[in-house]
Point group: C2
Chain length 307, copies 2
């Protein structure tokens, strides 16, 4: 048995703003990323490799807010964060403030597997990348016209559009269970449009945006990161499973629909247990998501009223 | 009722290397910081203010690895991290990679109280500090000859000295309960001697080095930060209290003496509950620590065989 679920961010575009063509592109991007991760698992590969490949595929897809297509900081740059965790060993790697690494999730994985550290930041993280032979890209690589227009709307103080609608959409993540029973989780993001002051969100925070522990579950989160850090969302879900005996769906719903809502935070999670149970939970109008269900069927969703 | 506990790092100097004069200085530094926090609580002040004042006192004391007296990075700089959390509201603030802020804990608190963010990094965090009118100091302010010698021993590959002995000692933290029943926790550090690549440890990670939640407890941690991040030590202790009904001492010991030791990590924690129970737990030969016990008596300790 193995399993895989991915997300491409919570807080969808309103249906009215989503053309059929754009919606098809999102669904195709999710399906392609799911297939990339699934082919690893289907070939007997590890959950760590599966989440890396699924997240890298979403980073490469300019529709999502990670890697190419990341949102802009207030001063017009792309600063990328990512993290990964191996549920079998509790090994973890995280990076933040990257500006020149094509696939931040691959650098997070190198931190986990090839360094004595867990969390590297900014220019120092890129110095580590250079020491590991990573290829660097120009900042232009990440630039997309759509994200630039979003920055200009934020800079112009567009109060008619919710921050989640125009900025948080598109953080990406994956959770996987491989045929050896090992869980893994990974998350990657450009953060929030118009961020400043070297802001770090929940995506690279082990325990907030990402957690995996074979004793409970693997979780990747997306949403208003400050609330996710304060609640330690990913870890909280794992602990509700481990210490309270909740099902994965109960635990995810408890954190997203009660604890997060009590603080007026928005977002969602994907989660997966060692026995292959998966859960989606979000309190936004939608979450870009996909999973391979137990029968091997692929399921892709955007809105909350889809199965 | 109110309560206060502080630490100045786990992993003490061997007793043989600790002169009576040096030991007295450490004990006096701990007592002064405890008094600084206690006077806030005794005057009816908040737990957030009490932990801020206690930690700032330790940052100002060159014996401890936070603020002045911080350890050096491999390239000979001081990069400071800190975080703070309010258990009544789950508000939190954190900063990392600071090089010019005298009291990092005060900047973490400003992030918590005066920004829309939780976690700010590096030059961006200092830009925020400037916008809030913080005073900047020269990098020389943090420099001490003792820490420079430790860097030179690390650079020279001194394999006869454990990293904990010569580098981790001195992260500082505080947990407090005020007369309104509000918990708070704060942690500040220079990190580990010889760190590189923009390494971030557990001290500024909400859920790892610092956590406070009035439903369970307040925790500040110190030790080999990578392990503390992977386990989410501070949050884990709170969850064992909240979900498993453990006492604060049982929960702290479970995480430090079982979960942390299973991963071969070293360090310790201080913790405090809403009903005024405090706990110290560490698996190193000692932890610099102090608390006001329930009867109002001050207790200062370094080694594990002290009460």
């Amino acid at each position: 048995m193995f399993g895989l679920a991915i997300h491409g961010g919570a807080g969808t575009l309103p249906r009215a703003d989503m053309s059929p063509e754009r919606e098809s592109e999102y669904r195709a991007g999710l399906a392609a990323a799911l297939a990339a991760g699934f082919s690893v698992l289907d070939g007997g590969g590890s959950s760590v490799e599966a989440v890396t490949r699924a997240v890298a595929a979403l980073e490469d897809d300019a529709l999502f807010n990670a890697g190419r297509g990341a949102v802009f900081t207030l001063d017009g740059r792309n600063e990328l964060d990512a993290s990964i965790m191996d549920g079998a060993t509790l090994a973890a790697g995280a990076v933040c403030g990257l500006t020149r690494i094509r696939n931040p999730i691959e650098l997070a994985r190198a931190v986990m597997e090839r360094s004595e550290f867990v969390f590297l930041s900014g220019a120092g993280a890129e110095e580590f990348a250079a020491s590991r032979g990573f290829e660097f890209v120009d900042g232009d690589y990440f630039h997309t016209a759509a994200r630039w227009r979003q920055l200009e709307r934020i800079r112009g103080g567009d109060g008619g559009v919710s921050p989640l609608t125009i900025s948080h959409v598109g953080t990406v993540g994956a959770v996987a269970l491989d045929s050896s029973g090992r869980l893994a989780a990974a998350t990657s993001t450009g953060g929030m449009t118009g961020k400043r002051f070297g802001r770090i969100g929940d995506s690279p925070i082990i325990g907030a945006g990402t957690y995996a522990d074979n004793r409970s579950c693997a979780v990747s989160a997306t949403g208003s990161g400050e609330y996710f850090i304060r609640l330690g969302v990913a870890r909280e879900i794992c602990n509700l499973v481990r210490f309270k005996g909740m099902t994965i769906q109960q635990a995810a719903d408890q954190v997203i629909h009660h604890e997060l809502e009590d603080l007026h935070g928005d977002g969602g999670v994907i989660a997966l247990t060692p026995d292959g149970q998966s859960a989606f939970s979000f309190n936004t109008p939608g979450m870009f998501r996909a999973r391979i269900s137990e029968g091997g069927t692929m399921e892709v969703g955007i809105y909350s009223d889809e199965k």
